[in-house]
Every structure is written in C-alpha cells, then in structure tokens.
C-alpha cells in the first residue's frame, strides 16, 4: 500500500514521476514495434519487388506504346465494346528489326456485357491502299510504319475504329504457350509441310524443315502450336486455312487465362521480353484477363474473308488477294458496328 502511494506522488508537471517514465518506455516500445513492422513490411516489399522486377521491366517496355494516330478510347475496364487489332510477325534473322511483315492480322471485337466476341482474320496478301500512300499487300503496312501505319491502314480500308493493338513475335508466342503449360486444340486436319521455315532453331534462317501435326484433339507445346498456325504450304485454302488455325489457337489460349496466377507473371514477362508490344496499359491488360477467361466458345463468331469477299489476282507479277470492298464493308459494319 505504501509503495502504491509513493507511485501516485505527482511531479511538478502534474504527472506521477513513475508514470512518466512508464509512458516514455511505452512510447519507445511502440516506436520500436512500429519500426520492426515497417522494417518487415519494407523487407517483404523489397522481396516482392525483386521477384516481380521482370514484370515491371517488361511491362514498362511493352505496354503503353505510343501510337501516332487516333486510337479509340474504349478500354476493357469501361465495360463498353472495344476492338483490338492483333498482329503477329516473323521476327527471325531473315527480317530487319523495325521492318517486319505481319503474318497474321486479326481484328477482335469484344462485348464485355454480353460476352460476345467477333474475330475477323485479314489475309496477309490482301491488296489494299496503305495509309502512308500507294497500294500493297496489307502485310507490308506494319513493315513500313509500325503499328501506327498498320492500324491506320486497317481503319481506313475496313472502316472500323480500333481501340487497341497487340503485336507479338514468333518466339513470343512459342514462349507464351510453353509458359502457360501448352494449349489444348482440336486440329482440323493433318498439317504436313516439307518446306516449313527452320528459323527458330538458329543456324541458317533460310533453311527448311519437315513438320507433321497430327489431326484431332491434343495438347500442344508452344513449338507444335507454332507449326500448326504457321504452316501454309499443304493447305488447299492457303492463307485462309492458316487464319482459321490461328483463330483456334487464340481461342485455346483464352482458356489458360484463369490458370495464370500472380506468381507466374515474372516468368511470363521474361518469356515475352521484346516479343510483345501493345498500347494497352497494365490496368487494361489486367481488366482483359477475366474477360478472356470468361469467354464462351458459343459466343465467338469467327470470320474469314474467303471468296466472294476476296478473289485471286496478280499485281506486278505478284499473287495477291483482291478485296470486294462492298461485301467486306457490309460484313464489317455488321460485326464491328
């Protein structure tokens, strides 16, 4: 009791002397605790940042690409329909970086509210007016002005508003599919090619190799998927057959979107380094993932510009596809309003 009374003696400040010391000690303990928490948090964040560094580096390098021209403003996060131009290029040693032809051009319209998707493959040999002047095969647009020219050419010729673009290189697609654990596809037919470019293995980029992709349902590695979508010699429908196969693999990839976790991103980013470019922001990409994984195949419309939309022709000795713009514009207006 006497001890308690002594502890209750007040100092000149009005606070018990022993309580002031205790308060200071308590404050010090709180401060130390805060410092420890902050230290652990900072350390954990540093670990996470170190882990996700490849994502940040690739994201900064690949996303948010500026495009000279007028891209639409609609983004996946707006829940309004939007249109993306997908571009795929051979980017092996045969080609000059910065002047790559597009082997694949696919216009994709997504309606987030209904889940409807329309994919329209643009034949690479389509002979069109290029936005920078003159006429040529449409695969040269990207080579002569990058994404801006490719987008402007498609917008001008097809009378569509493109909101975003994504470009991916050969190795990027192979690596992406492998990092996602492969894709499951029902192939349309045996795809056999004695003159398939052997340009991914290094060595002579002009060499050929034989490929044989079996028919039916199967699990494809990145390399086999690439052979399936790229081979064109033994297909009666030539580039149209290839376009159909590209659409199949693209749709198969969508089912993988839900299997990608946050922790997978660094590996995927490393796999895609320099092999993917897009104007979309990181937020757009993040918003796109659930939309992609939620797509139902029965709501996907796939369009190929087969005859009578196009017809074989020859211009200056080169085989081209001549567009029937009236028919194409009517089809595009219906699918890409």
């Amino acid at each position: 009791m006497a001890t308690n009374q002594r502890r209750r003696r007040r100092s000149g400040t009005g606070w018990p002397v022993t309580e002031g010391v205790a308060t200071r000690r308590r404050r010090r303990r709180v401060l130390v605790a805060v410092l420890v928490i902050v230290g652990f948090t900072a350390s954990g964040l540093a670990g996470a940042v170190a882990y996700f560094l490849p994502v940040l580096a690739t994201s900064l390098g690949a996303t948010g690409q500026s495009v000279v021209g007028s891209l639409g403003n609609r983004s996946p996060s707006d829940h309004d329909p939007f249109t993306v131009l997908l571009l795929g290029s051979d980017d092996d040693a045969k080609f000059v970086p910065g002047h790559l032809l597009t082997q694949s051009m696919i216009l994709v319209r997504v309606e987030p509210a209904t889940g409807h998707v329309t994919m329209l493959s643009i034949p690479r040999d389509l002979y069109v007016p290029i936005s920078t002047g003159g006429s040529a095969k449409i695969d040269t647009a990207y080579a002569n002005g990058g994404a801006a020219t490719a987008i402007a050419t498609v917008e001008q010729d097809f009378k569509v508003q493109i909101d975003h673009y994504v470009w991916i290189g050969l190795r990027g697609l192979v690596n992406l599919i492998d990092r996602l654990g492969g894709v499951d596809v029902v192939t349309t037919n045996p795809v056999l090619d004695d003159f398939y470019p052997a340009d991914l293995a290094g060595g002579d980029p002009y060499a050929f190799e034989r490929v044989a992709v079996m028919p039916g349902a199967q699990h494809m590695s990145g390399l086999v998927a690439m052979e399936y979508v790229r081979s064109r010699h033994d297909d009666l429908r030539e580039d149209f057959g290839r376009s159909e196969r590209q659409q199949q693999v693209l749709l198969a990839l969508r089912t993988k979107a839900h299997t990608v976790g946050l922790a997978d991103l660094p590996d995927i980013a490393s796999a895609l380094k320099g092999e993917i470019l897009t104007d979309m922001s990181l937020r757009d990409v993040a918003d796109l993932m659930p939309i992609a994984s939620g797509l139902s195949l029965d709501k996907v419309a796939r369009v190929l510009l087969l005859p009578p939309y196009t017809s074989d022709a020859s211009v200056d000795g080169q085989a081209v596809l001549q567009p029937d713009w009236d028919r194409i514009h009517a089809r595009v207006a219906k699918s890409f309003p």
Binding site: P190, L192, D194, R210, P215, A217
Partner: protein, 343 residues
C-alpha cells in the same frame, strides 16, 4: 545492439522468404497445372482401375504398357526416336511408329518391347544441299487379322503437296499397295481400320461446303475402289475403331468445333446406323475397344483441364453404358496416339 542485429537479420530473411515463397507458389502452381509433355516415371504410376489385358500407351516419346496394377515402359525414347501410335497384331506383337525430326518409321516388337524389327525405311540419305522432301512419314499402323499391315504414308508427293494416303502390305511381302487417293492439300487419308471383309474404313479429309476442311469416315472395298462416305462433312468424324465382330464402330466427332465427343454406331459392312454419344463435354480422342468388345478406352484431359489421360467406358456396346471413369492419373499421354488394347 544484439537485438537490433537479430531484427535486421530477421527482416532481411523475411524479404528473402517472400521472394522464395512467391517462387514456390509458382512452382506448386506449375506442378498442379502440368506443363506440356511432363510424364511421371511409369514405376510411380498406379492405375485407379484394374482393367483386363494390356493397354499400350504413348507418353513423352516412350511406349508404356498398362497391365494389372502397374505401368511399365516398353520402349524408351532416345535422341533420335520417339515412340507413338502402337497397334497390337494377332500374334501379340506390337507395331509402333518411331518418329524422328524429319521422318517416321514403323517397327515391330514383342509384347515386352524386345526383338525390335524395323519395317520401313523413310529417312532419306543425306544429299548435297539437302533434300528434305525425299523423307517420308508413316503413321497410324494397324495389323489386320490376316497379318496384313495397314498404315498412312505420305506418297506420292509433289512439290508443296504432302498428303497421307492409306497403304497396306502383306506381312511376308515388302511390296506395299496404295489404297486411297487423298484430296490434295488437305492432309489426306489417315487411321485405317481393316475390315473382316478385306476392305478398310479410314478418316478422309475433304473440303466442306463452306470451304472448311472436315473429316469423314470412308469405306473402301479394294485398292481401286473409289469408296464412299459413311459420315457427313457436318459430322466431322474421325479416329474409327471397329469392335470385335465388326458390328459396331466407335469414332470421334466434332461437328467442326473445338469439342470432340465419343460416339458409337452400328455398322453392317456398308452403312452406319444412328450414332449414340457416350462421352462429350471434353476433348476426347481415340476410342479403342476392349479385346472382348465389352468396353471402350479413350483419351481425354484429366478433370480440371489437365494433361490427357486414359478413361474407360464399361458396357459401351450395350444400351446402358456406364459413365466414363478415369484410369490413370499423373501422366501426360500423347493424345495423337491411339491406345492399343491386347488380351
């Protein structure tokens, strides 16, 4: 000072743990989703069901044999050969495809993989400047009850055209006969199934009404017979297998889409009856009859969309077949290789 040092060390350790933990999460996730071509060591595989006889399967370039409660590797792949598409002959021997980078050959082995004998020689000798097109593909072997060997083979070829055709050859005679004339630039005619009558049913790739490539089951009674379609292009059916007795056919049909279902249908030697769907809602491949015709085995992804594995349908030929049951887990089977079921 001592406590401060410990705390700083703990903080650094925590940061490292976060980094490592994220990597571990990815590793576990990779294991759960199973990448392309990952195959568990056969000795670690134990079937979920005990099926009669032996079932030969291809996985990761190896030929596996499922028998009783265990799985063994019958043939292992090496740097130049990957084994696929096994078929069992009447004498119990196994005919199998050895696929190399530029060509493939047929081999025959004993049931346990011993006594390997090469049946074709499809690799071109190296030439000055290379001549890839002199190589050939041989796929989808089948051994007829009469000992005749059936397969699909990419000859004749011309320029860019490489289409498989149905070929056969008597076991004792090395001279092969081409049976079918494939539609050019479609991939051709594949998966021959010899009939007791001497004819053959196979999957033929054709151009459909909308310029799409579709497959049809096709029947030919002789090498010069143009044959006729058993299914429509809209059905898009392939991968036929004839039940013992020849009265029922199993096949995969896609209707031109990205789903593949198992169907069975009666077969009178000339036409098909009305098909019944036995398995759907998945990517089914290569329905294969049990030696006694009582059940079907087929390939489809594991639940949750994993690798292709083996499934079993009891009573497949009857009016009330049971639902599909998974036979194996933890193995990535080659979905382009039909299982071969021996007694």
């Amino acid at each position: 000072m001592g406590l401060t040092t410990v705390l700083v060390a703990l903080m650094a350790g925590f940061g490292l743990a976060v980094y490592t933990g994220l990597g571990l999460v990815r590793h576990l996730h990779d294991g759960a989703t199973a990448g392309a071509g990952g195959t568990t060591d056969p000795v670690d595989l134990h079937p979920l069901l005990r099926l009669p006889g032996s079932i030969y399967l291809a996985a990761g370039g190896d030929l596996l044999r499922l028998r009783g409660d265990g799985v063994t590797a019958v043939l292992n792949h090496d740097g130049s050969r990957r084994w696929m598409q096994p078929a069992v002959a009447a004498d119990g021997s196994v005919v199998v495809v050895a696929r190399s980078a530029e060509s493939s050959d047929l081999y025959r082995s004993a049931a346990d993989g011993g006594g390997l004998q090469r049946l074709t020689d499809d690799a071109a000798a190296p030439l000055h400047g290379g001549s890839l097109e002199r190589n050939h593909w041989a796929f989808h072997p089948r051994a007829g009850a009469d000992g005749r060997l059936w397969y699909s083979y990419d000859a004749p070829k011309a320029g860019f055209r490489v289409d498989l055709a149905v070929w056969s050859r008597p076991a004792a005679n090395a001279v092969a006969t081409r049976w079918s004339s494939p539609v050019g630039y479609t991939g051709g005619d594949v998966e021959p199934v010899p009939l007791p009558s001497g004819g053959v049913v196979y999957a033929r790739y054709v151009i459909g009404a909308g310029s799409e490539i579709r497959s049809q089951l096709w029947l030919q009674t002789g090498p010069r017979d143009p044959g006729h379609a058993l299914t429509t292009t809209d059905d898009d059916c392939s991968q036929p297998d004839l039940a013992p007795g020849g009265g029922t056919l199993a096949m995969v049909c896609t209707q031109g889409g990205q789903g593949a279902r198992v169907e069975v249908v009666s077969f009178d030697g000339r036409t098909l009856g009305t098909p019944r769907v036995l398995a759907a809602g998945s990517l089914c491949a290569f329905p294969t009859w049990a030696p006694d015709g009582s059940a079907l085995a087929y390939l489809a992804p594991a639940p949750g969309g994993g690798d292709f594995t083996l499934w079993w349908l009891a009573g497949a030929a009857g009016a009330t077949p049971s639902g599909p049951r998974q036979v194996l887990e933890g193995v990535a089977l080659d979905a382009t290789s039909r299982p071969a079921w021996a007694p």
